[in-house]
Symmetry: C2
Subunit: 161 residues, 2 copies
């Protein structure tokens, strides 16, 4: 509580009830959407506007206090874990997202063979697959993968079979 306030102050971010609640919400729910976080904040302090949530998340991301990940076909997700350069593993069928340790370790953790003159500052890696519980469902029903592993709308993505 005081903790969070001090963190905000250290970064020169004005301390408001909304931001404090949001910071806690992000800490408590890794990989939550803005909407879910807004609900969490409401549960704690009564009300917040959508805009306050988006503004605050934007500021916190900008200052490096939280991290935003935007998987294809899904709304943005936020997480408190920053600075350790981990990546994500996402289930195509239920959307479950888990952290995975960085493959290499340093940031940017990969080198493009040909960088075309770009100055690269980040290598974003997302592993796509099927989570254990969706795998189990597939096997149980005996349905083939195309059936049971059919991605939900929000996760429809290219499959390169």
């Amino acid at each position: 509580m005081l903790e969070s306030a001090n963190i905000l102050r250290k970064y020169g971010i004005p301390v408001t009830a909304q931001r404090l609640a949001l910071l806690r919400a992000v800490g408590a729910r890794p990989h939550a959407t803005a909407d879910v976080l807004a609900e969490a904040v409401r549960a704690e302090i009564g009300a917040v506007s959508k805009q306050a949530v988006y503004n605050a998340l934007g500021t916190l991301v900008e200052k490096g206090l939280i991290r935003r990940i935007q998987p294809a076909g899904s709304p943005a997700l936020y997480e408190g874990r920053v600075g350790d350069n981990h990546h994500h593993l996402i289930c195509r069928s239920c959307g479950m997202t888990v952290d995975v340790a960085c493959v290499v370790g340093e940031r940017p953790c990969l080198n493009a063979a040909d960088h075309s003159g770009f100055r690269i500052d980040e290598a974003e890696v997302i592993f796509w697959g099927t989570c254990p519980s969706c795998l189990e469902k597939t096997e149980k029903t005996g349905a083939d993968q195309a059936e049971a592993g059919k991605p939900q709308d929000f996760l429809t993505r290219p499959t390169t079979p």
Copy 2:
């Protein structure tokens, strides 16, 4: 023309003027959005509905004839280059997207240290940075990167400084 029709037939996809035009449009404009492709198709055959474009793109992606990439904060992009497992390099400031050869070569081209029981089928890699022409602009104005490199709305993403 006949070429494309045969490809569609080979994959069991009914041949329609819309799909043929779309296939050509994707081939001619790598990294185009659905909207841009729809315009291209209209230029060629007069008219298409938004839905026909989305349906056709979806089908083609599903069959592996084209590839969909969905960079954070941007609408989906489509490309005809499939099967060579290359990745993408995107400019944070102007959105320019170029292909880069795969870092490793095989697909999935990376291994997650801990896969948490997932069955991984793809490792998606996006390199983020600044393209040569935006770099030049930055240097010319003498503005610092935070200024000149300010991402456009459609490309606002986490920065991990």
